[in-house]
């Protein structure tokens, strides 16, 4: 493999960004309401120039009111889940680690549901409690996953699975206490849905996303060393506790962010980093940005499928990622074993 230069990293990112751009244009164009590529382009150009009045009102509503915010949300969620998956995989030195397997998503979901039940008036409560839930869960799982002071891979995954099922039980209990109307919303949100715009601005959510990914990116060289073993990394001068703290907190922030706006969208954090590793190697300096853009592509595409496959009925995007993700995962696993 060629040496990893900044030039090569930029090249890979540009390539993926190009793919993402194509996916966005494609997603903007398809849907229950037919709009031609030309009309989408015209609408975008006129919108960008501020000529709102020259756009037909339904085109404007559908492109700027519905499709664009939804695609942006998909990009946000995909990038967040994928980068947090890649980070957990490095820290735990376990390729099967992912926010869902570790129960971190369930912790975030529990936090978000608590906010829905008790703090509905505060738009920030959902994101805040989801983050705290994610952070508390990874701390608990980390603690439970240790044996004789050492992080044990199998024990850790089991701890994650058991924590997830325990948290799900609490979520089920909470859901029986709310009214039918609220429960419909929650059950729907838990399945993974990008059709509902979050209560707080997308711009601010992207700002948080960039902070989370940026913080993890600053540790990418250290993560490469930690992958070979914490002792070895320590001997090579890596401040292991500091790196772990930064990455756990940032990955929890990203998971909390994704879960609070979209519910449970599985397999993205597990699969996208895998695919990126196969394509571009396992150096975290390229893996982090590649996973971010790759995750954005995956979720934007999955959501486009979700809203068009059986239109006008819409599927939850979580069902689409699981339906595609599980077989791909098995294929990757078998290919590795072969």
């Amino acid at each position: 493999m060629r040496p990893l230069t900044p030039r090569r990293i930029a090249g890979i990112c540009a390539l993926l960004a190009g793919v993402l751009f194509i996916v966005v244009v494609f997603s903007l164009q398809v849907g229950a309401y037919p709009i031609s590529v030309r009309d989408v382009a015209m609408t975008l150009v006129r919108g960008a120039l501020g000529h709102w009045n020259s756009i037909p009102s339904s085109d404007r509503l559908i492109v700027f009111g519905l499709r664009l915010p939804r695609i942006a949300l998909g990009i946000l969620v995909g990038a967040a889940l994928s980068v947090s998956g890649a980070s957990f995989q490095a820290l735990l030195r376990n390729p099967l680690a992912d926010p869902y397997v570790l129960g971190v998503s369930s912790g975030a979901a529990l936090g978000a549901i608590l906010a829905l039940v008790w703090l509905q008036r505060f738009p920030w409560a959902m994101q805040g409690l989801a983050f705290l839930g994610a952070l508390a869960t990874i701390a608990a799982v980390y603690f439970l996953g240790r044996r004789k002071g050492q992080l044990d891979s199998a024990t850790l995954l089991l701890a994650g699975i058991i924590t997830a099922s325990f948290l799900s039980a609490i979520i089920m209990f909470l859901m029986t206490t709310v009214s039918g109307r609220d429960m419909r919303g929650m059950a729907f949100w838990l399945m993974g849905d990008l059709g509902t715009a979050p209560a707080i601005g997308l711009g601010f959510l992207f700002f948080i996303l960039l902070i989370g990914i940026g913080a993890i990116y600053t540790t990418s060289s250290d993560l490469n060393l930690i992958l070979t073993g914490e002792q070895e990394a320590h001997h090579l001068g890596v401040n292991v506790p500091r790196v772990k703290l930064v990455v756990y907190a940032s990955a929890s922030l990203l998971t909390g962010l994704a879960v609070s706006v979209s519910g449970a969208i599985g397999y993205v954090g597990l699969l996208v980093p895998h695919v990126m590793r196969m394509l571009f190697g396992s150096d975290y300096r390229v893996l982090i940005p590649a996973s971010a853009i790759g995750g954005a592509i995956a979720v934007a595409l999955a959501d486009t499928l979700a809203r068009t496959v059986v239109a006008p009925t819409e599927l939850p995007v979580g069902a689409v990622t699981a339906a595609i993700g599980a077989p791909v995962f098995i294929y990757l696993l078998r290919r590795r074993l072969a």
Binding site: G31, A32, Y33, W52, N53, S57, S58, L61, I62, G65, L66, R67, T176, S179, G180, R181, R184, G185, F188, D193, G195, T196, A197, R307, A311, P312, T313, E314, P316
Partner: protein
Amino acid sequence: MNAKQMNAKQTTREVIDETGRHVAVPVAVHRIVTLAPNLAEIVYALGAQDRLVGVSNYSDSPPEAKSKPRIGMPTNPNLEAVVAAHPDIVLITTEGNRRETADELARLGIAVYATNPHSVESMLESIEHIGGVIGATAQAESVVANLRQRLNALQSKLASAPVARVFFVVGESPLISLGEHTFIADALRYAGARSVVQAKQDWPQISLEELVRLNPDYLVFASSGFGGEDSTAKQLAELRSEAGWRELAAVREGRVVVVSDEIDLPAPGLIDAIEKLARQLHPNVFEDAAQHASLRPLSASVPAHAHLQFTVSQDSCTEALACAR
């Protein structure tokens, strides 16, 4: 603000919907979208079906509604399809739609009127409200007056009859019944019945053992679709072959009733379902009434029926068709 919005402002009026939202509704409503089956049924009952340009999936009552463009499931409607239908107003219900859907549509500048039917009485009020919003006030008043008259006739007929203790089966496995604050619990009261389940929760899960202990007079099942008499017989035969169920006095003595799904649909057809259920739960009362009716051809309930020919005949037609099939 662009020209179109300015223009829209002059031709709208503000109303407060049943959930307390302030909605700017166009004075002249030409295009209506409904996001739940009962709302489509109400629009038809108000004679405004020509203005109905989109309905949610499974809006099958009246049968003509099946030919209207579908815009997705009530919990998850396709917002693009709603926008593309250019509605002047979108009708939603708290029983079936999500608050988020209303928020999204409002954000897109589409007028959303939410109904909140929690009892038979509030369903009747909803019909009047919808009539007012879409400009069919007179029709709404006459539809509601007739439905009320039928309910009153039923009440006076059932006045002396003992209240039937029923167990309403919402789902069989797991066994789910209903709480006291549900819409169906209220409908049961109008049919001269009372649910033996006393729960604060809307859809409580009940063990078979608890059902045996409650020992209801009647088991009431909601059919999916419009099951007739034969489905009651089939249901009874099935229950008699199942351990646990066949031990129930109601099953042993054949006191099992299957009502149409309309019992859970806050729409005019609900009154049909209530009447039919009352007939099955209190056969003695209605046998007497039938004898009296032959002596007195102009009984109190007859003009009400005659006046409501539009809605009633349509619904009974549905069932006749379903039975014929």
